[in-house]
């Protein structure tokens, strides 16, 4: 069912915009370019818009939505708390800091890296940033092999503040062009969509999306506690490392491409748990699909509601996400102290 929802939003999102494309025209473009039909039942401009602008943008939304949904679900499972979210515990801002450092300082290493791996360079930089922050937060929150959730969240706040301060500092050193880039990081946008960004993101999203479901059973067991998971035969140490690596990979790459898009990782798994089940074997793939659908939809709204200008999508997701976040806090509170 979620697959249908996703395909539907992809189609709608492809059709709506400054240049309108009807559903039949969309089909015709697809059929023509895949060689299924040689009828050209559309205008050349429509095809150009669709292939060069709209399709990469929709695909980018799908990839980032899936990445955020899956990593949110995995991180909540790992930290045993439905409030843990890559943004809240500092992973996203760690990734941002690394990306901004790369942009502003235009370090030699980064240039060499760009020469070496091209478009993957920024993804790689923010993946490293995300990875380092996760390890740091984790180190802060770990004691005797157990995660202390309060410390984790507080550590996240501290890291967010620290990363924010450094990013702020860097803006003073930045040129105008660099500054525009940095603003884009802090708000999040899919405006940078193009085929190269889509391909740069693809492996960083596909690997976690397809690998994390194999850890779903372990994530379920972890909900009982680390010792209990171990009693059930889960190699907690290995599983934790894998989850951290995969989740930060997804978060880091999406931050590199689209900046921080908050709350998707928080609300998507929550919706799934509320409506279907808490079983990670369904939540993980479900979060990929629903995250993709919701972000594509949010992006559609972001780019049409104030057309011809564009709303940063981060504003939109925060407006929807923050109230949901408050709602979760309240239900959690009521559950713990009835």
């Amino acid at each position: 069912m979620l697959t249908i929802v996703l395909i539907l939003t992809m189609v709608i999102s492809s059709c709506v915009g400054a240049v309108h494309i009807s559903f039949s025209e969309l089909l015709s473009i697809l059929a023509y370019h895949t060689g299924l039909s040689d009828h050209q039942n559309f205008e050349a401009q429509q095809a150009a818009v669709f292939l060069n602008l709209r399709l990469p943008r929709v695909l980018l939304g799908v990839l980032i939505g899936a990445a955020l949904g899956v990593s949110g679900a995995a991180i909540q499972g790992l930290f045993r708390n439905p409030l843990a979210e890559p943004g809240l515990i500092g992973i996203s801002s760690g990734a941002t800091l690394f990306a901004v450092v790369m942009i502003v300082l235009e370090t030699k290493i980064f240039k060499e890296l760009t020469g070496l791996v091209g478009f993957y360079a920024l993804s790689l930089a923010s993946f490293i940033g995300a990875g380092l922050t996760t390890m740091l937060v984790y180190r802060i929150a770990m004691r005797n092999g157990k995660t202390i959730i309060t410390t984790l969240l507080l550590g996240g706040i501290a890291i967010n503040a620290l990363a924010g301060a450094f990013v702020g500092l860097l803006t003073y050193m930045a040129t105008d062009a660099q500054l525009r880039n940095i603003t884009f990081w802090s708000l999040g946008s899919l405006g940078g969509a193009s085929w190269p960004t889509v391909t740069a993101l693809l492996p960083f999203v596909l690997i976690p999306v397809f690998a994390l479901p194999f850890l779903a059973k372990s994530l379920n067991a972890l909900a009982l506690g680390e010792a209990q998971a171990m009693h059930m035969g889960v190699n907690v140490k290995v599983v934790k490392r894998l989850i951290i690596a995969l989740a930060t990979m997804a978060v880091g790459a999406s931050v590199a491409v689209a900046g921080i898009i908050a709350f998707i990782g928080l609300i998507i798994p929550h919706i799934l748990r509320m409506t279907f089940t808490a079983d990670h074997r369904l939540v993980i793939p479900g979060a990929a699909l629903l995250g993709a659908a919701l972000l594509t939809l949010a992006d559609l709204i972001a780019r049409t509601v104030v057309a011809p200008a564009e709303l940063p999508i981060g504003i939109l997701t925060a407006m929807i996400g923050a109230p949901v976040f408050i709602y979760i806090i309240i239900t959690e509170r009521n559950k713990n102290n009835p």
Partner: protein, 260 residues
């Protein structure tokens, strides 16, 4: 089944367990009694392989605990821990199915679902199957957790079951239910080791009792052999009276002094 020899564990310079040796057999319920800080929980953690001993060996079915692969160990022994919180709301049947996790890869088989239903029936929680675990009462939660643990070793007749204060915080009816279940598991052939606080429960349900103090064994044997005023005074530092009671083959223990 379980053979423990010369087991010691230190935290800093303090010996939590000191050269402890004992056996637990197939089809037997061994109760472990002791005051707080006697080393019961440390012993349980060592038996679960949560922590590693400073010295000594633990053999399960003649194989050293350390030599088990985690997955195989999970099929050989199941553990009911003292604190069972659930961070995410699962349904009861999903939680019981988790007991089968060591037995299947990605998809549970029909046999796994069969065992889940069977266990829920036996533990009397079938009517709770679709309930959210976090909405259950403490007693119901404990029965669900026990069902999960039983499901884990349901088809492993030579398995061991480690229960860490399973009746903690439950009312009398639930305490009774849990102990009757533990007893029936031992009768079915499992080796059950159970930490208890209630001496009378231990003597009523256990085949043998081991008493610990300061990481050392005070006494070990049949309830009728070890339940006496001296052992209990030695273990718990309290004075008790023993009362013969009809229908029990072991005297009941009651406090000797009543404060006014």
């Amino acid at each position: 089944m379980i053979k423990v020899r010369g087991l010691s564990y230190k935290a800093g310079s303090k010996k939590l367990l000191d050269n402890l040796s004992f056996d637990a057999h197939k089809g037997e319920l061994l109760a472990i009694l002791g005051a707080n800080g006697a080393g019961k929980s440390t012993l349980m953690k060592l038996l679960c392989r949560e922590i590693k001993p400073a010295a000594g060996t633990i053999l399960i079915n003649q194989k050293e605990l350390d030599n088990y692969r985690l997955e195989d160990l999970a099929k050989t022994r199941a553990v009911l821990s003292q604190h069972n919180t659930l961070s995410i709301s699962f349904q009861v049947k999903e939680l019981v199915l988790m007991g089968r996790y060591p037995h299947f890869q990605q998809k549970p088989t029909a046999a796994d679902f069969g065992i889940v239903n069977q266990v829920m029936e036996e533990t009397g929680i079938t009517h709770l199957a679709s309930r959210d675990y976090n909405t259950l009462s403490g007693g119901e939660q404990q029965r669900v957790q026990l069902a999960r643990v039983i499901a884990q070793i349901y088809d492993s007749p030579n398995a061991c079951l480690l229960l860490d204060e399973p009746t903690n915080g439950l009312d009398l009816q639930y305490q009774q239910q849990i102990m009757v279940l533990a007893r029936s598991l031992a009768d079915r052939g499992y080796c059950v080791i159970c930490i208890l606080h209630d001496i009378n429960f231990a003597s009523r349900f256990a085949d043998r009792i081991m008493m610990l103090k300061n990481g050392k064994k005070v006494a070990e044997g049949l309830p009728i052999e070890v339940i006496n005023c001296e052992n209990i005074h030695e273990t718990f530092s309290i004075k008790v009276k023993l009362m013969e009671c009809e229908g029990y083959n072991c005297p009941l223990v009651v406090p000797a002094t009543i404060l006014k």
